[in-house]
């Protein structure tokens, strides 16, 4: 009977042990969430300041839009685009703005 009693008590002792860990698990979880929120706030704050101050009207958007590549069959050489032997020459004076 004594042995039987010990067997019955075994799981309950284990349950108490797991229950005792829960406060720590919760505390670690809460700490992780707080750290994650702080990191997100820091990153957002850093981007906003840099973008507004550095680029004027560019805002905080620092992404670069890359155009689609030209078909490889269109010749490019320096400022010239197209076949050097083309019948018509178009010269465009342009200001990139």
């Amino acid at each position: 009977m004594a042995r039987g009693s010990r067997r019955e008590k075994g799981p309950r002792r284990g349950g108490r042990g797991q229950a005792a860990l829960w406060p720590y698990v919760i505390a670690v979880g809460v700490a992780a969430v707080v750290v994650a929120v702080l990191i997100v706030l820091l990153i957002r704050g850093g981007d906003g300041d840099g973008g507004d101050g550095g680029d004027g009207g560019d805002g905080g958007d620092r992404s670069v839009i890359l155009p689609s590549p030209r078909p490889t069959e269109i010749a490019q050489e320096g400022h010239l685009l197209g076949s050097p032997g083309a019948a018509v020459t178009l010269i465009e004076y342009t200001d990139f703005q």
């Binding site: 550095g54 560019d58 083309a86 020459t89 004076y93």
Partner: protein, 142 residues
């Protein structure tokens, strides 16, 4: 603003027209920087990629879109040799060229942009007019 994409699609890709772009700087400080940056990209045989990236990232005149920092970011995004590009831009290697080209263009009567010549004749940059002028030059009469 560029009128080139539709012209490129209809006439350049078919071998009928070749296009030469001559950057000038008449709209402000960022015009000069952008033109110099395009010349620096041309040193690496990437003029047209940089040209297209400038238009893709245009955000209005002198609003910071073509700041020195942003032009360097364009070069990085295009995977140019950034050390060479940055050195080229920061040294002002092409500043006098852009200034001379702008002055030369103005002497030809280029006081607004874009100004377009088709086989040496000034043509309206409006697309329909430009297409008509090219067709006339090609002798198609279409």
């Amino acid at each position: 603003m560029s009128v080139l994409p539709p012209i490129e699609e209809e006439f350049v890709s078919t071998g009928q027209v070749k296009v030469q772009v001559r950057p000038v700087a008449i709209l402000g400080e960022e015009s000069g920087l952008a033109a110099q940056a395009a010349e620096c990209a041309n040193d690496q045989e990437r003029f047209w990629d940089f040209h297209d990236t400038l238009y893709a990232n245009h955000r209005g005149e002198n609003k910071g879109a073509f700041s020195r920092e942003n032009l360097k970011r364009f070069a990085e995004a295009l995977e140019l040799d950034t050390a060479a590009f940055d050195s080229c831009l920061d040294s002002g290697k092409y500043a006098s060229k852009v200034g001379d080209d702008t002055e030369g263009a103005q002497q030809l009567g280029v006081n607004s942009v874009p100004t377009i010549f088709v086989n040496g004749q000034v043509v309206s940059w409006h697309l329909e007019d430009l297409q008509a002028a090219i067709r006339e030059a090609l002798g198609s009469g279409q």
